[in-house]
Amino acid sequence: MLALIKREIADAAVFFLITAIFVLILTGMLVYRVAIGWGSDQILGVPSTMYKIFGNFFPFIFLIAAVLGALQMYLDRDKKISSYLSTLATTRRQILSAKIITGVLWILLVILPIAATDAVLLKVFPMVAVPDAGFLIRIFVTIFLCGLACYSFGLLVGWHSGKSLPALGIILVTPILVSLIVIKGFGLQTIIFFLLFISAAIIRTWQKFMSLSL
């Protein structure tokens, strides 16, 4: 299993590398902006400084998450990689699990450093209306789930012989998922919606992957 996860990470190395650089730049921007001052205004209960940076950055990240999921499946099918892997000492279940774990790791790579930076910044540079720790956790759980929802959708549409239909699906669905945060905020309803969406997408992908010809 570990070997399969390593293989998935190595194959998605470009994604991991670019994302790491991107996250580093974003963290730097955040530190710089906060050093100047948080500002007193808030959007959706989040300091506007943080919201603006996140608002510009995360839609791209969610799009990349969907592309990562779709590419994992598309290249796999196109190059018959799973067909070969499943003849080695492994199972379809392990192959798909390795993909999903890689996707989750990638999303965590994006979110954890930013979440940690934010937590430290709020501690070091306290603002007038400090969001409580629970609220900060809710923000990042929602962002994590949105990323996972986009990734799961990518996985679902990626196992398709054509390129245009998955691409169209990602372009249409990702903005809808992201806009849900803008409309509903970082509340419980949003979290529940994402959880349901992720479950549906993963279960369908799982069912397809286990029963189709490899």
């Binding site: 570990l2 070997a3 190059k79 990689i81 070969y84 892997l85 499943s86 080695l88 000492a89 010809s213």
Partner: protein, 300 residues
């Protein structure tokens, strides 16, 4: 379950509305080298893919090493070596990277033996697999399959697309490797001479059915070709069962019969042919006769 390494029960597979496999029953005992023959597109690869769990059957069941194909565990997969038709592997990997991946996914790995095979085949480990010719990919595929010291080895038309030299080289080494004790091998091919050199039991797929399933010796003994010369025009119907092929020209009638015995000989003699001679048949002749006609049954 018995000691069958491969067991197929009433296997039916429809593909895009077409019946590719029609009620296949097959048992390959452990330690047997089984040659699966059939013309291109007859369903050999489909049967192998179903055995390995890569495809699902429409009906029926298949078992490998005592485990149902669709539920093969990683442990069972680790005891099976597979050389696929076309040798897909992972094309954008370098050989070394693929070897490391296979090694890390294997329960058993013989690096020395793999090195020996790579050296024998002169395969560079620093090149990408997509830069390899079909023959080199086949050799690499076989090397990787053999490195796990498989209990069951499945070779799906491994010499397909290879030139004569590469095919000979592949087979010579394969024969050495295959003849080790206790290993079960399923070898599919449409090249008769390949199978004849390796197999001790043969199956021939014709129109989705397993028309022949017996030892090579039995097959040769049980299919008989006779040249009959009659004083006048040959009879239209000899009233024989198991006629595989029949051709009449002038006073001459050439028939190929399965399961030829004294009873059938007696029936022929009632038509009083002036001459009756047996025509020697190679495996290739038998294969051509069998695959050119409706499925007969030479199953033991």
């Amino acid at each position: 379950m018995g000691n069958e390494a491969i067991k197929v029960e009433n296997l039916v597979k429809f593909y895009e509305g077409r019946c590719v496999l029609d009620g296949i029953n097959l048992k390959v005992p452990q330690g047997c080298i089984y040659g699966l023959l059939g013309r291109n597109g007859v369903g050999k690869t489909t049967l192998i893919r179903i055995l390995l769990g890569l495809d699902l059957p429409t009906r029926g069941q298949t078992h490998l090493l005592g485990c149902e194909s669709s539920k093969l565990s990683a442990e069972i997969h680790g005891r099976i070596g597979y050389v696929a038709e076309g040798h897909n592997l992972i094309q954008n990997y370098r050989v070394g990277k693929l070897i490391n991946l296979c090694k890390s996914l294997s329960a058993k790995w013989d690096q020395d033996f793999l090195n020996h095979l790579l050296e024998t085949f002169r395969l560079p480990t620093d090149r990408k697999i997509k830069q390899f010719s079909g023959g080199m990919r086949g050799q690499l595929n076989l090397s990787l399959a053999m490195a796990i010291d498989p209990e069951l080895l499945i070779l799906d038309d491994p010499t397909l697309g290879l030139d004569t030299v590469a095919r000979r080289q592949f087979l010579e080494l394969a024969i050495d490797l295959l003849q080790q004790d206790g290993r079960t091998i399923l070898f599919s091919s449409h090249i008769l001479s390949d199978v004849e050199r390796i197999a001790d039991r043969i199956g021939i797929l014709v129109a989705g059915k397993l028309a022949v399933d017996c030892t090579l010796e039995e097959l040769k003994n049980r299919v008989t070709k006779l040249r009959l010369i009659f004083p006048e025009k040959p009879p239209a119907d000899l009233h024989l069962t198991d006629i595989i092929n029949q051709q009449a020209q002038g006073r001459e009638l050439v028939i190929t019969v399965a399961n030829f015995n004294k009873q059938k000989q007696a029936i022929i003699e009632t038509f009083k042919p002036s001459n009756c001679t047996e025509v020697p048949m190679s495996l290739e002749d038998i294969f051509i006769e069998c695959t050119n006609t409706q499925p007969l049954s030479i199953v033991n």
